[in-house]
């Protein structure tokens, strides 16, 4: 065991983690612990843009952005947080530009902006150009720029350190977070990091689904760790399906394509979004577009030999727009489907994309232990967190915004906390949980294959808990997940070595996936309404009387199969009253 001591440790080196590190690293002794090399993080896969009401190309203001975010989130958004995000968006974009991010430019040399789903002028009148972008690799540019600035500021990274536990110490004033425990992939060694504050920026858990835009490594580790400590997760039933994944593969094609004018068509060539969202059509929010696509297919209007997808038509955009503004997705379609978007429409279908829910925090990134209190010293930001600025459905580009605004806030808050507090003693035997976990996984106690359990989990979640859900499908999913958890107790890891044991890594990751899938399904069963990304065929309407509230889940007990206690948290309202959501 090795021991380290820092003022602040940040877990995860995607956009949120590195944005936090840039702030924290200039204020306090900071280390970043990351499962992946920083530039491998999935922020780099984000394509379309980052919204901010710069008004560089047309009239816009942050109040409109706030409203769009709240309406887009089907009024489950905490309105104070959305207002902060939309206000600070402008500086967040300008900060990135000053750090060197190469945004596309207007003819005047300002940051160019384009349209994106759900972002509108004057509360829904028409689509507005709000998304600042760098071709269709905005996320790549953000990730690279943040990493570059971490290099510039000499931020200390522990690459390929897999954090598996946090340390919570009991004090007279209650529990505080005092560090984290990591498994070093290169050596199999366990490291204890004592810290005054810990920031979780560990990303999402899209690998609970089969068809997903998420990387193999997005297994919800951070959410799972926090949940296992008895701390709550919030709104986990709200999972976003991005409308335009490459059919059958799930690889993301940016909404920016529709922002540039691409059109969704069914088998007969009809622009079907005109029926579902007459005003902004193809630029309706993602939940609405994904459901519309699923309905087209369900009702027999899908394209292709099996009528199981729809078509994204970019052909009228012309080769130049595709090559200059959408080059990456053009290449994805060519490489993976052998379809040339310049000449023919691209087969697309919704793909699991983003967790609106996660570790509940306040607007300073402090992690909540319950509805009213925080765990001092523990922070979270980015997809693993739930502020909640996305409510029941996140608008496109607001995740790149979220990581920058709340990553920055969490980094500052964590460093300030560290500068005003002393180190607290870590608990006795800090490595016990991780050591037991690793030893159990490596021991011979069964013959279940990790890949089999994972594949079955993903198949069941795709079939039962995706765009549309019912009581029956969700019960099936719950039954499947619980049976898989039982089998998980008998997994076999073939690689018994200490050096880069990625076989072991995948086994541990699967444990988190199973845990989070169950929370998602339990939450989806309990929420007997349809709101944003959670669409219940058996409860097709939004029910503000009973469900205008966040869900809070608590794990009861230490076992993998344990009860989940469900609680609720009120939504914060400022100035927007819930209305029917029409586009």
């Amino acid at each position: 065991m090795q021991f380290h001591k820092y003022d602040v440790i940040i877990v995860g080196a995607g956009g949120a983690g590195m944005r936090a590190a840039i702030e924290s690293g200039q204020r306090a002794r900071t280390a970043v612990l990351t499962k992946l090399y920083p530039t491998r993080s999935h922020t780099g896969a984000a394509q379309g843009g980052m919204c901010a009401a710069l008004a560089n190309v047309e009239e816009d203001n942050w109040e409109w952005h706030t409203f769009d975010t709240i309406k887009g989130g089907d009024y489950l958004v905490d309105q104070d947080a959305a207002e902060i995000m939309a206000k600070e968006a402008i500086d967040a974009v300008l900060d990135l530009e000053k750090m060197g991010l190469p945004f596309n430019r207007t003819p005047e040399g300002k940051i160019d902006q384009r349209r994106f789903g759900g972002h509108t002028r004057n509360h829904g009148e028409a689509a507005v150009r709000r998304a600042c972008y760098a071709a269709d690799r905005t996320g790549h540019m953000i990730l690279q720029t943040l990493y570059q600035n971490c290099v510039k500021h000499g931020i200390e990274f522990f690459n390929e350190f897999y954090v598996l536990d946090i340390l919570l110490s009991d004090t007279p004033d209650g529990q505080v977070c005092t560090g984290a425990v990591a498994y070093e992939l290169a050596t199999g060694e366990i490291h204890v990091f004592q810290a005054k504050s810990v920031v979780f920026a560990t990303g999402g858990f899209g690998k609970v689904f089969k068809t997903t835009s998420n990387a193999h490594t997005l297994t919800g580790d951070g959410m799972g760790i926090v949940f296992r400590k008895g701390l709550p997760l919030e709104d986990m039933e709200f999972y976003q399906f991005h409308p335009t994944g490459l059919a059958g593969l799930g690889i993301l094609l940016t909404e920016g394509a529709r922002g540039e004018g691409a059109i969704l068509r069914n088998a007969s060539g009809e622009r079907f979004m005109e029926r579902y969202a007459p005003t902004i059509k193809d630029l309706a929010p993602r939940d609405i577009v994904a459901r519309s696509m699923a309905l087209e297919v369900l009702e027999g209007r899908g394209a292709g030999p099996n009528k199981d997808y729809v078509l994204l038509d970019c052909t009228h955009l012309g080769a130049e727009v595709l090559e200059t503004k959408l080059p990456d997705i053009t290449e994805f379609a060519r490489t993976y489907l052998a379809v040339d978007p310049v000449k023919e429409p691209v087969p697309v279908y919704p793909t699991a994309h983003y967790a609106m829910g996660g570790i509940p925090t306040n607007v300073h990134g402090e992690v909540l232990r319950d509805n009213d209190n925080v765990i001092p010293g523990l922070y979270a930001a980015g997809e693993c967190a739930c502020v909640s600025v996305h409510g029941a459905n996140r608008l496109g580009t607001n995740s790149l915004l979220d990581i920058n605004v709340f990553g920055r806030r969490a980094g500052i808050a964590a460093a300030e906390y560290a500068s005003t507090h002393e180190f607290v003693e870590i608990p006795e035997n800090p490595t016990r949980v991780v050591e037991e976990q690793i030893a159990l996984a490596l021991s011979e106690h069964g013959h279940e294959r990790v890949a089999d359990i994972r594949t079955e989990l993903q198949a069941s979640m795709d079939a039962n808990a995706s765009v549309y859900r019912t009581e029956d499908t969700l019960k099936q999913a719950l039954h499947d997940v619980q049976a898989l958890k039982e089998r998980y107790s008998r997994i076999q890891v073939q690689d018994k070595g200490k050096r880069f044991n990625t076989d072991l890594l995948e086994a541990v990751e699967l444990g988190f996936l199973l845990e989070l899938a169950e929370v998602l399904v339990v939450g989806a069963l309990a929420r007997k309404e349809s709101r944003g990304g959670h669409a219940r065929e058996d409860y097709p309407s939004r029910d503000d009387t009973n469900f205008m509230r966040h869900s809070m889940y608590y794990k009861q007990g230490d076992e993998l199969t344990s009860d989940i206690r469900l609680d609720y948290k009120p939504v914060t309202f400022t100035r927007y009253q819930p209305m029917e959501r029409k586009y």
Binding site: L36, Y37, T39, R40, S41, H42, G44, A45, V93, L94, E97, K98, M99, G100, P102, F103, N104, R105, P107, E108, G109, K110, A134, A135, R137, H140, M141, Q144, Q148, N149, V151, K152, A186, A215, H216, T217, I251, D328, E331, F332, T335, Y336, H447, E448, R449, V450, A451, D452, T455, Q492, V493, Q494, D495, G497, K498, R499, F500, N501, T502, D503
Partner: protein, 262 residues
Amino acid sequence: MSAPAEEKTASGSRGSEPPVPDGAITVTVKIRRFNPEFDDEPRWDTFEVPALPSDRVLNLLHYLKWYVDGTLTFRRSCAHGICGSDAMRINGVNRLACKVLLKDLLAGGGKATTITIEPIKGLPVHKDLLVDMEPFFEAYRAVKPYLISYGNEPTRERIQSAADRERFDDTTKCILCAACTTSCPVYWTEGSYFGPAAIVNAHRFIFDSRDEAAEERLDILNDVDGVWRCRTTFNCTDACPRGIQVTKAIQEVKRALLFKRT
């Protein structure tokens, strides 16, 4: 040497039979294996893998890891060519395993074929296809790969014309996968050479009109281990999964140095 193709049947007893999709063909995959924890020296393992022509090479590796030999070790993450984790030497050339489809490797007419997979060259092998990336990132960090400007910060964004922005567009695409650097014969023999990727990332700032430290970077690259080592072999340009004109970028940096001297 083990006979993994035999073991596949044996491993079936762990669970259900591995999935074999309709229309799968069988390909032979030869993989360079080395785990310094247990092995004295590297070896080749040969596997038979059922796969679809539309599969990525990464799918074949996953099949092997998940159903045949859990000890097979490689990095991967996004699986669609954007994170840069899975650069490896596939049939003798550097590629991302997630960006090469089986059909592109099949001999004409889809005849049975052998695919060889090795770790990228020039970086120490940690285990199987997974190499030590630290020397690569060290060279990257050495070229000051971040925007440097002096004087007061503007209140709004800096103004940059579309043409000035276009000037360095190509080199902003780099995902730091190391495919270029580890395809370079000079880098193989002289690891002290900065290598193409570091120069690409210097280029990205040298030609950015907002940056004011081109001189500093050019001085760094004028070093004995800098751009002059490049012998314009074009391996790097061929290897780049992002289509960056790597050799051209290196030439532009060389020209900037020459121009600076006159």
